[in-house]
């Protein structure tokens, strides 16, 4: 399977926003079935993909994610009937916006993973992790995080250390 024992120079941080009914259950199934996938994925559970505000994706990148995965129920399977349909449009638009701003969309993955698709979860999580690993760290947002307006910039060693400590 996906046994990763080798040491990588770069371990990407992947944030996965998932719905509780399908993808979270799918990821759980992957766990109970003892399927292996990279430990880089941090799962954040939501009631529905319809609750996942695009600002969460933005925030994840700002706070140090190298890749973001958003996953929910297959169309037609939404526990709330249409949450994922709404989410689909919203993410289509948000993707276009991020692309226009200059974010490489290879860092952002959307998927439908049902409660029965433990294998698909492993596949999606692994593929995104390895793709982002190959791309290297998400520097853009992290660099912004440390930038100051010229008037407020002072280079004290303490401040620099403090900034570097921010993940």
């Amino acid at each position: 399977m996906h046994a990763h024992k080798e040491n990588h120079a770069f371990e990407p941080k992947i944030v996965a926003f998932v719905c509780t009914w399908c993808t979270y259950a799918g990821a759980d199934l992957a766990g109970t079935a003892r399927l292996q996938y990279p430990a880089n994925t941090r799962v954040v559970k939501f009631p529905c993909t319809g609750r996942i505000d695009p600002v969460f994706i933005l925030r994840a990148f700002q706070k140090g994610a190298d890749g973001v995965l958003v996953s929910g129920c297959h169309p037609g399977d939404c526990h709330y009937m249409a949450g994922n349909f709404h989410a689909r449009r919203r993410f289509a638009a948000f993707r276009a916006l991020l692309d226009f701003i200059g974010v490489d969309l290879n860092r952002l993955q959307f998927s439908w993973v049902s409660a029965a698709e433990g294998g698909k979860w492993v596949e999606v999580a692994t593929e995104l992790t390895e793709r982002v690993r190959a791309m290297g760290p998400m520097r853009e947002f992290r660099e912004l995080e440390t930038e100051e307006q010229w008037s407020g910039a002072i280079d004290t060693p303490e401040l620099q250390a403090a900034y570097e400590a921010i993940p």
């Binding site: 307006q149 008037s151 407020g152 002072i154 921010i166």
Partner: protein, 342 residues
């Protein structure tokens, strides 16, 4: 004894100051506009137009860090920013309307609480003012008692000459010192000053305006002029004298940064209480505060006015509010006390 400096030597002076390790701030081209910004070399100095933002950010940054914090099992560790690390700065070719605001702001920042971030920047900055030879239809420095060659706040003052150079007058000891350390770039003498800018608005009767404001906190005028106000902060943020700020913690439970950044009384949330009550709940009340603070409260407290007539708020207002027009209108209003009603 007056001195002169050529345009080329002014730029060499900037190079020399940069070489000394000073941060030199002056008008620099930035895309479609000019902004006060650090200059890497004299060539970057751009004297073509009034910078879009005022020079206040030299002393009062748009956003600055006050402290950082970290929390773990051991407890909370707070690291204050040491204002001593603020770099020595020379502000070059700042307009009189920008420079004159600095001593006015000293009053509030050294009043009951000493704002060491502001004051340390003031102490460490030498200001080279530059007389204005061009005014547009929004300029009104002469109407509020300044002039295009007002030296208020400057340490050194440059007056453009007809031949392209500048006359240079030392106004303070700081200015004398800068002149003395770079004496070779200056020549003895005078020169013919180029004609000064002539703002078109006539002198305002500021005492009369103050007297009206004293008795007209409630007046229909506020609604008339400010109902159109959109409630943004463009006027306050471009103003050389507006100095409200907000302090926020950005970060998380375990670590973060406390920052101070510009705020504006035009914002709806500016006076919003934690309870949800907002004492200035409609825009005219917020706009009234802008005028009152500039031309009454600050006068009562410090006998100074928070307006230098730079005209930036007039140029930038999204809905065409013109403070000079409002002041003119107030100056001609009936002095009878208001009705006590909005």
């Amino acid at each position: 004894m007056p001195k002169t400096i050529t345009d080329q030597n002014l730029r060499l002076l900037i190079d020399a100051l940069v070489a000394e390790g000073k941060r030199v701030v002056g008008p620099r081209a930035a895309g479609t506009m000019t902004l006060y910004a650090p200059l890497a070399k004299g060539e970057e100095l751009n004297l073509g137009e009034l910078p879009r933002r005022s020079a206040k950010e030299t002393f009062f940054p748009l956003c600055e860090t006050i402290l950082t914090y970290e929390r773990d099992k051991e407890g909370v560790r707070v690291t204050d920013v040491d204002p001593g690390t603020i770099p020595g700065t020379v502000l070059v070719a700042a307009r009189p309307c920008d420079v004159a605001a600095a001593p006015v702001l000293d009053s509030v920042f050294s009043w009951d609480f000493k704002d060491e971030f502001f004051l340390e920047r003031r102490r460490k900055t030498t200001i080279i003012g530059l007389a204005c030879t061009r005014a547009d239809d929004a300029c009104f420095c002469t109407a509020v008692g300044l002039s295009p060659n007002d030296t208020k706040g400057s340490d050194l003052f440059l007056t453009p000459l007809t031949d392209g150079g500048y006359r240079c007058d030392a106004i303070t000891e700081k200015g004398e010192a800068l002149l003395a350390t770079h004496a070779s770039l200056f020549a003895e003498g005078d020169g013919t000053p180029a004609p000064l800018a002539e703002p078109s608005l006539g002198k305002l009767d500021l005492d009369r305006i103050k007297a009206w404001l004293d008795t007209h906190f409630e007046d229909p005028l506020w609604g008339e002029i400010a109902e159109r106000c959109a409630g943004c902060g463009a006027c306050a943020f471009l103003c050389p004298a507006c100095h409200c700020f907000d302090i926020v913690d950005e970060g998380g439970e375990t670590k973060g940064t406390r920052r101070k950044s510009w705020d504006a009384c035009g914002f709806g949330k500016f006076t919003n209480h934690a309870s949800g009550h907002n004492p200035r709940d409609v825009q005219p009340q917020r706009y009234r505060n802008r005028i009152m603070h500039k031309f009454k409260y600050y006068v009562d407290k410090f006998d100074q006015r928070l307006c230098t007539g730079c005209g930036r708020c007039i140029r930038a207002c999204p809905v065409g509010i013109d403070i000079a027009e409002i002041l003119s209108a107030i100056g001609t209003r009936d002095q009878e006390p208001g009705t006590g009603k909005d």
